[in-house]
């Protein structure tokens, strides 16, 4: 290939170097420090070589260079995981190829690898800003590719580029809307990332880290009327095993068999439920947490196809959330059903720790005739009447943590209150468990969605009454503002400062606007899934004006086809001979009679006008050359002649009729 043997375009190597540096920066989540340094060393050496204008390395030298890096990679492969190893190899291939660039043909493979490597960045980054940056880099790669196949000093033609854009954009959007989406075809390796959000154990104190985080947890938009703020209890985890100090999830949540419980279970449940209850439909856009748990209100009845139903009416994703996902749920804001007798037994287990609490629980039970509702009311009264305080910085607790909290320190936050309440209720013989999730959120009035941050993490209690799990939030008793208007109102000014930081200035406002934009991006771009696609089609098909559109399109296309046909016919009659014949007749103001060739006609005229015979014969000659030899020059000359002598031809030449 000739074009492949051409020299590389100017500054091509420099631009690829920039691209590689950007790739290295984008791959940071997958690269250990040492590997980053190794790549940085390689790239700076390449930069130095470019600066010194040194020739490309030979393949052999490159192999010597790459071998140690590959060995390093092999040594790390078990720690890195398959995905990261693949990204390493991509980066290594791109950087290595950069050293051996000589001809354009060498660079084509590089372009291919760079496309792949750049798109892989989307595994880590899905926020709008990063996505735009990556698309920018893809554009740069496309430009580099274009330069390989364009003249060395060619400028970008704006018209052609615009045309490209105009063709590309509708195809792109069309493909995005229409192209079939499949469920995952096989298990894929995930990057090794620490999970964020709620942890699997609840040790009063562990939420403290969460509470200060402004990071986004998820966003919710309601399809039906949004429930009142007191109902915004987003359940994510249920803690049932208590060891005297820490709450843990029961093994039934992690066992593999339950993954098969799917949407069917959800829907059959909804059929058995009376329809009169208030149902809420909402869509949740969850941020990557590297956990499987999803968030739902009350009792989920039905939801998106991909969701799986967990015990205790919890929802989960089949795989840990490595990226934002969007799912919709219909929930009933009602107490949850008891699933089995073992669930009841599980939530009555007690430990030997906290003797004072257990004793107090037993006393409460006796005082209220083992009536769960009354015991809960008594507990609420106790929390309200005694000097309990809500604080994010409670003192450390000793061995019998619950005893110490209930009867000594009386300062804590949600998980202290929730775990203490659950222990008291269990001691009173009422099955109870601690639920972890999020409470509240910031309602975005303009954009009509609820924004839930990590600091809205919360813990509360569910207790069994008449074989139904009822929610009880002891924190609401101590600090009702926490539930009704959010965490900030509950805290002292210093504690608010701890939380708010930079949110109130104009930069914060800008960030908030950006976050709204990011929300739209998430809903329409990231969250667009199979279901949305189906809905889009359904809405399109249900559109009532279809027959109008189809009729007008068919009429218009018929008209266009007719016009095209006429145009083709006129084009066919417009042979060169016909066109020139017409021009000649116009010039002479006469038409050649039927059955007479132009040549015969012109010769006849020449006989009648001997003084102009040379001109007429020249015209004839030019006519014949342009018609029969397709001589463009002759045609041009003929037209010139006719124009030049138009007065003469019109006035002074006699043409017999």
């Amino acid at each position: 290939m000739l074009v492949g043997q051409l020299r590389l375009p100017n500054a091509f190597a420099c631009q690829t170097l920039v691209l590689h540096l950007a790739l290295l920066a984008l791959y940071q989540p997958a690269l250990p420090l040492w590997n980053t340094l190794a790549f940085l060393g390689l790239l700076s050496w390449q930069g130095w070589r470019l600066y010194k204008d040194q020739p490309a390395l030979s393949k052999k030298h490159l192999n010597w260079l790459m071998a140690p890096l590959l060995l390093l990679l092999l040594a790390q492969i078990s720690q890195l995981g398959v995905l990261n190893a693949m990204l390493h190899i991509l980066l290594l291939a791109a950087v290595g190829r950069g050293f051996t660039l000589q001809q354009r043909a060498d660079a084509i493979q590089l372009i291919w690898v760079q496309y792949f490597a750049l798109v892989c960045c989307f595994i880590f980054y899905q926020q709008m800003a990063m996505a735009l940056a990556i698309f920018g880099l893809l554009l740069l790669n496309g430009y580099l590719q274009h330069r390989l196949f364009a003249p060395a000093n060619a400028k970008i033609a704006p018209k052609r580029t615009l045309l490209l854009g105009m063709i590309t954009l509708p195809i792109w959007l069309g493909l995005f809307l229409v192209f079939p989406r499949l469920p995952p075809l096989w298990q894929i390796p995930n990057q090794n990332m620490a999970s964020t959000g709620l942890s699997d154990t609840l040790d009063p104190g562990s939420i403290e880290q969460l509470v200060q985080s402004d990071a986004l947890a998820f966003r919710v938009s309601f399809t039906t009327e949004k429930p009142p703020r007191e109902e915004w209890y987003w359940r994510a985890k249920v803690y049932e095993d208590f060891d005297g100090r820490r709450w843990q999830r029961n093994a039934r949540f992690t066992s593999r068999q339950l993954d098969t419980l799917s949407r069917n279970a959800l829907q059959t449940m909804s059929q058995s439920l009376p329809a009169s209850r208030e149902h809420v439909q909402y869509q949740i856009l969850a941020e990557p947490s590297y956990q499987r748990d999803l968030f739902s209100l009350g009792l989920p009845l039905s939801g998106s196809t991909s969701l799986s139903m967990q015990p205790a009416s919890l929802l989960a994703n089949p795989l840990p959330l490595t990226q934002r996902i969007s799912y919709s749920v219909i929930s009933a804001l009602s107490p949850l059903p008891l699933e089995s007798a073992t669930e009841r037994q599980l939530n009555l287990q007690q430990q030997n720790a906290n003797p004072r609490t257990r004793q107090w629980g037993a006393e409460l039970a006796q005082a209220h005739q083992y009536d769960a509702a009354k015991i809960v009311t008594a507990l609420t009264a106790y929390f309200q009447q005694q000097a309990f305080f809500y604080s994010l910085t409670p003192p450390r607790l000793g061995r019998d943590a619950i005893d110490q909290f209930l009867f000594e320190s009386r300062v804590g936050f949600c998980s202290h209150y929730a775990s203490a309440t659950a222990v008291v209720l269990r001691a009173a013989g009422i099955p109870a468990r601690v639920v972890g999730g999020y409470q509240g959120g910031e309602w975005q009035q303009n954009q009509q969605y609820l924004l839930v941050r990590q600091r809205e993490a919360h813990a509360w209690v569910e207790y069994l009454l008449h074989d139904e799990w009822h929610r009880f939030d002891p924190t609401a008793a101590i600090a009702p503002e926490r539930i009704l208007s959010g965490l900030e109102q509950t805290l002292s000014i210093e504690e608010q400062a701890l939380l708010s930081g930079w949110q109130n200035n104009w930069l914060g406002q800008l960030a908030l606007q950006w976050s709204h934009l990011d929300y739209l991006w998430s809903v329409w771009v990231l969250g667009f899934n199979q279901q949305d696609q189906q809905q889009f089609w359904q809405r399109l098909l249900n559109w009532p004006y279809w027959h109008w559109v189809i009729t007008s399109i068919s009429v218009a296309s018929l008209i266009l086809a007719g016009m095209y046909w006429r145009w083709r016919r006129s084009l066919r009659s417009k042979t060169k001979a016909n066109v020139l014949r017409g021009k000649l007749s116009r010039a002479f103001n006469h038409q050649p009679p039927l059955g007479m060739t132009v040549a015969m006609w012109l010769h006849q005229i020449a006989q009648h006008n001997t003084e102009y015979a040379p001109l007429l014969l020249e015209i004839n000659d030019l006519y014949e050359r342009s018609v029969f030899a397709s001589d463009a020059l002759a045609e041009q000359q003929l037209l010139q002649k006719l124009q030049q002598h138009r007065r003469l031809l019109r006035k002074h030449i006699y043409v017999s009729k």
Partner: protein, 320 residues
């Protein structure tokens, strides 16, 4: 063997099909019917990339990866249109035949007209040598190099016009046939290269002198007429006849006898030799502005002079 035969037959059928579809013309434009587009090798790799990214996006349920694969897909599709537009309406016109003397390669001047065509690769079908036209906007003259050929007359083989512009994903090509000839005249060789005499020997005409014209030769002198340059006056003669200045006539006499160049009936290398000499003779005679005719075993060209006549004679030699 049968494979080679099949391949040859298929190629022949293809050529026949092309000849029927696109007969040679002196001028042609690349239109929809004669432009072929297929993905290039890189284009196939690119498609593979798109499929790979689609699978990756599906498995990670990552809309952005899907989006990226759709971008690449739409770029692939729209590049097809751009690749077509790049060569669409390109017009090739040939006005003159290509002419050369035997061992030298010929060059054909083409006129290429295009709105805007970039990175056009031109070669002759069956040849490897490619010429690259980086940029055509408007009308350009283009010199097509034709490899060295033996003496004779050839019709121009089909051209192969090819372009990978703009992204190398699609190869656009066409096989235009231009109606023109390549004339390869015999190599001009003087018979006796070591003597100064270069004029024809095997003819029945008396050898003409090449000496500087003598002023004493009466045929070359004539009486002075008004308008003659004073430089041509023979000043030596002036004292003898002061009233009748004599001027020296420059150049050849008005009507000298025609020269005949003969090519005897020969074969093989001997014929080539004879043709080479005849070629040289013709060139010399034309350079001297003489009248000359050509007599070969099969044809006779009446004496005349001028570039057109020389061309006719040389073409006759080429066809011998």
């Amino acid at each position: 063997m049968s494979y080679a035969k099949l391949k040859q037959r298929a190629q022949q059928r293809f050529i026949d099909w092309l000849d029927k579809r696109q007969p040679a013309t002196p001028s042609l434009a690349l239109t929809q019917g004669v432009i072929y587009i297929l993905p290039s090798r890189f284009g196939w790799w690119f498609s593979f990339l798109i499929i790979l990214l689609y699978l990756l996006g599906t498995n990670y349920q990552n809309n952005l990866i899907l989006l990226a694969s759709f971008v690449l897909m739409s770029v692939l599709l729209s590049t097809m249109v751009l690749a077509f537009l790049n060569v669409h309406r390109l017009r090739l016109t040939v006005t003159d035949d290509a002419v050369t003397y035997a061992p030298l390669p010929a060059a054909l001047t083409l006129k290429i007209t295009a709105n805007l065509c970039q990175m056009l690769q031109i070669r002759l079908k069956g040849q490897r040598h490619v010429q690259l036209l980086e940029y055509v906007a408007g009308t350009d003259a283009f010199t097509l190099m034709i490899p060295a050929l033996d003496r004779g007359c050839y019709s121009l083989p089909r051209l192969v016009l090819k372009s990978d512009y703009p992204l190398g994903l699609f190869t656009t090509w066409s096989y235009p046939a231009l109606q023109t000839q390549i004339w390869v005249y015999p190599e001009p060789v003087a018979k006796y290269t070591d003597t100064e005499q270069t004029l024809p020997q095997a003819t029945n005409t008396p050898p003409t002198t090449q000496n500087e014209l003598q002023p004493t030769d009466p045929t070359l002198l004539r009486a002075y007429q008004q308008g003659d340059s004073p430089k041509h006056i023979l000043w030596k003669r002036l004292p003898a006849a002061p009233q009748q200045p004599v001027v020296r006539q420059r150049g050849a006499p008005l009507q000298s006898l025609p020269e005949w160049v003969h090519v005897p009936l020969l074969q093989g290398p001997a014929l080539e030799h004879a043709l080479s000499h005849a070629c040289q003779q013709l060139l010399d005679l034309e350079a001297q502005g003489r009248h000359y005719g050509l007599q070969t075993a099969t044809a006779q060209i009446a004496p005349a002079s001028g570039q057109l006549h020389l061309t006719r004679c040389l073409q006759e030699l080429a066809l011998c």
